[in-house]
Amino acid sequence: MKTQKIGAWIAVLFGASYFIIPLIATFEFSLRMRRGEYSFDAYRSVFADVQFRESFSYSIVMAILTIVFGVLLVVPTAYWVRLRLPQMRPFVEFITLMPLVIPAIVIVFGYLRLYNSSSFIPFTGSARGTDLLLMFSFMTLSLPYMYRSVDTAMRTIDVATLTEAAQSLGASWPTIMFKCIFPNVMSGVLSGAFITFAIVIGEFTMPSLLNRPAFGPYLQLIGANRAYEPPALAIIAFAITWASMALLQLVSRFSKSAPSKP
C-alpha cells in the first residue's frame, strides 16, 4: 500500500515537473536582466512600456465588450432554445462548436474577404469598424465556452416552469429575463465571462491580421525583438490566466452553495 502511494506521488511530481520546471526557468530567466544579480528590471521595463499599457488596456476593453455582447447574445439564445425550440438544441450546439473546428486564421480570412473596405459591409474601412469586427470575432471564438457554461447553468433550473410562474404573476419578457433567469444562471455567465476574458487577452491571430493594437500581437512583437522582457510578459500572461482560473474556481464554489433548484 505504502509503495503504491509513493509510486503515485512520483508520478504526480514527474507530471508537475513537466510544467513547473520550464515555468521556473522562464521566471528565473526573466529576473536576469541585470548582470550578476536577480532583479525585476524586465518587469519594470514591461510595465514602463507605453505600448504594453496601451495594448493591455485595449485588450481589457475589448474583453469587457466581448463579454457584455456575448452574454446578451448567448443567454437569450440558450433560454429560448430551452424554452421554445428544444428540437433545435443539437443544431445550435453544433453551430457553437464551429469555432473549435475552424482555425482562427480561416475565420479571419473569411472576415477580410466579406467585410473589407470595398465590400457591401465595409467593417475594415475604419478603425472603429475594425474594432467592432474584432469584437465579433472574439465573440465567435468564445462562443463554445460561453454557450456551454450558460446552458449548463440553465439545466439546473426549471426554465419553463419559472417562466410560466413569472408570466402568471404579470411579468413581461424583459422582467422574466433579467429578474428570474439571469440571476439564476449567473454562475454560468461568470464562468463563460472569465474564459472569454482569458481568450481575448491571449488571442493573437485575429487582432494581428485585422491590424489592431491588442495584447497578443504585442506579446509576439516583444518576443521577436527583446531578450528578458518576453519571459517577464509570459509570466504576467500566466498570472492573468491564473487569476481568471482562480476567479472561476471561486464562482463555481459560490454556485455550489447558492440555490439552484426550484
Partner: protein, 353 residues
Amino acid sequence: MSFLELSGIQKSFGPVQVVHDFDMTIEKGEFVSFLGPSGCGKTTVLRMIAGFETPSGGTIRINGKNQESLKPNQRNIGMVFQAYALFPNMTVHDNVAFGLKIAGMNKAAVDARVKEMLGLIHLGHLADRFPYQMSGGQQQRVALARALAPKPQVLLLDEPLSALDAKIRVSLREEIRMIQQQLGITTVFVTHDQEEALSISDRIVVMNSGRADQIGTPFDIYNKPATRFVASFVGTLNLIEATVVDPASNRISIGDQAITLREPLGPVKAGDTVSLALRPEAGSIAESAKGDTALTGQVVSSNFLGSVIRTRMKVGDPVISFDMFNAPGLSPPAVGDVVTLRFTASDLLIIRE
C-alpha cells in the same frame, strides 16, 4: 352569467386531439377539481385557462370577458405548480412580493400585503429564507401565497400536492380549502388523486380521453357514477356482468343467483348482459340470504387494510369485494368460507356507457 365559462374548448397537438368540445361553467368562489388519469387532458385545459396553451377551438370567458386575445401576464390568474416554481434567487418575501412589484404597488403596500399573505400561510417567521432552505410543504405554501398576493380573479392549482409526502398532502389540502373559502376565490384544482378531489371540491369534473365524463358534486360523482370510467376511476368498485332474466320486473342473475334491481333495466331483453356497479362498503355479511338482495359466495381472499378488512368472494364467475369495518371483536371470514353478502337493491347501479 357564470364567472368562468369554457365553451366548446378543443385542443390538438399536431394530428392528436387531446381535448374534445369541453364545456363547463364555474361560479364565483367555487372550488372545482379536474380529476382524471395522466394524459386525460386536465392539465391542458388548465393551461388554456392560464393562457399558456392556445385553444384550437372554443372560447374562455372570465367575468364575461373573452380571454382569447390576452397573454398569460395580462389575465390576472394566479397559478400554483407541482414543482413549486419559486424563484431560487429570491427570499420568501421577495417571491411573494414579485407580482405586487410588477403591479406597480409602492413599497409600504407591498410589505403590508406580503406580511398579510405570509400570515395567512403561517410562515411569517421565514420571510428571509431562500426556497432551498425550506421543506417542500413550506415551499408550496409560499407558492400559494405568491399566487394569491396580487388578488387574482381565478386561482389555478396544477397538482400542487403531488410532490409532497402523504401527511403533508392531507394537511396542506385542508389549508388550501380553508384559505380558498376565506378569500372566496374561484379555484380550479387539477389532480389525479380522487381522495383529494372528493375531500375539498364543491364540484368535480371527471375527465377521460380529453372529455368531461361527468361533472357533479363529490357525493354524486361517488354515489351516482354516470359512466363505466367514472365508476371505475373514483373509489374502489365491483364491476359485475349480470344476465337479464326478466326485463319487466328488473330481474337479473349474477352467477346463478337472481336479484331484483330497483333501477329500471331499460330497453333490454332476457338473456342480454348488463354491467352493474357495487361499492365494497355497500354490503355486509349476513347469517342467511333472506330476501332478494343478497349474494352467497366462497371467500377467495381476505386482506387487513387497517380500518377495514377487504374480502373477495366468488359468486359463480364474478368475484366481488366487500369491506368490513375493523373492530376488536371481529372475526374476519377465512379463505374457503361460504358467506352471504347483503345489500339494498339501490346499491347496485346499472352502468350504461
